[in-house]
Amino acid sequence: MAVFNIKKREIECKIVYYGPGRCGKTSNLEYVFKSYKKQVGGEMVSINTEGDRTLFFDFLPMDLGKIKGCDVRVQLFTVPGQVQYASTRKLVLRGVDGIVFVADSLDVRREKNMLSLKDLQQNLKDYGLNIFKVPLVMQYNKRDLADEGIPIMPIEKMEKDLNRQLKVPSFPASAVKGEGVGKTLQECLKLTLHSLQKQFSWAQ
């Protein structure tokens, strides 16, 4: 949950990148870290295990400067995607203000995407949050693989699988190339800050 310091006019919020294992959550953060130097407020911390798999989380602090008279700081997190890290994933999700769900466009990862979204819904529910109400953005990652002749799902199919009911903003992306990464984050920040503004009325 965001921390709002009325006296100092500071707000700190938390955005979590969620999705199945190896879908590109860490790649998103790495790109943000490399490309938004001005806004990045510190080092990126990655806690990995064998094969560069996220073990606990990745963390990247950002400082967005003044927005409507308030200093806005954002903490970006990724969760470990592998099924066996369920408790860590849930822990990282605690206090979330906005979510980027990174779905893998690879044909073979279709079911993993759906299961991960269901897992997100359940974990949010356990924290008393409704997936339909939380600021959420969908990213369809690895679109570039089609150029290498690898079968990927059409956007329409992914929308049907994952976004039929949620109807949240969605973006095609290639996190390793940086395509769509900025747009996804910007939209998530927009939704999150809008929601926090409603909650705290900090822009008044």
Partner: protein, 303 residues
Amino acid sequence: MTKNIKALLLQAELFRKQGLLGDARKKYKLVEEILLKSDKLPNKQKLLEGLAKKVAALDEDVKAVERAPSTPEMSSHVNELIKKLFSFAEKDKDENDAALEGAIALAKFGQFDGALEEFHKLLQVMSVRVSAAKNILRCHLEMGNPDGAHTQLAQWQGSDLFSPEQFEKVTAFFDEILEKKGLKKEIAQAPGATAEVSVMEEDEEEEFLDISAVAITFDSGPHKGEQVELDVSFQSGNVISLIISSRDEHLIESLKVGVRLDDVHFYSPVAIFRGSGIVSAKTQIKSGPKKGDFSIDIKIESL
């Protein structure tokens, strides 16, 4: 055929590069099957040998991932970060609550040594003493050291750190956690065991698989012969709820209360199961963002 093999190998290599080791293995196996069935390829044996090497290398990668510790010891810098990022109490309002949450976070991330150090410090703080003590015991058990937990409890019993009420709370918690972990008997018989063993009734709940989505094949009605995939919005035991847009009139019509669905694929985290169900309820949503849509309950009959 050569084209197909090349495409499969390309996919396998890419999956491996991406760390999708299980998917890579499946593709290699497909190539192997094709090669084994083929009589026309002149270099078949050589290709099979090359493939076997690739699969062996892939299996090594899988083993390395499996062997990696699930909770390696982190640097003090990382531990400090975990404490800072995962304590949600307002630090300027209640420093001790925040410190306790930070220590709990360390334990949840498997950093038990660091967590124990923090909890021991917090034993000196009256407001969080009992919580710190409970977490110390829990840490010992999580570390696979029930004897350590028991020794600790015995030490506290002999000291004046806790009031009798506080100590009772700690021992009751210890009993409960031992019961849950199935360690109660073992500890009760351990030398020097002093905690009184109370017999608690175990809740026996029947467990149902968590279903994330279903694919229903209709054998009658407007959707006859079609397979329709739907997300599960809620599950309670063996009853799953689906939300269907008011625009899907035919689908709503097909799913009347009492209709038997003999061909349903249930998507669970474990696997996809084929089974059957029966429509047990249908209600129109009266308010909220889904107003006008229908909530359909399906009772799972077999899985």
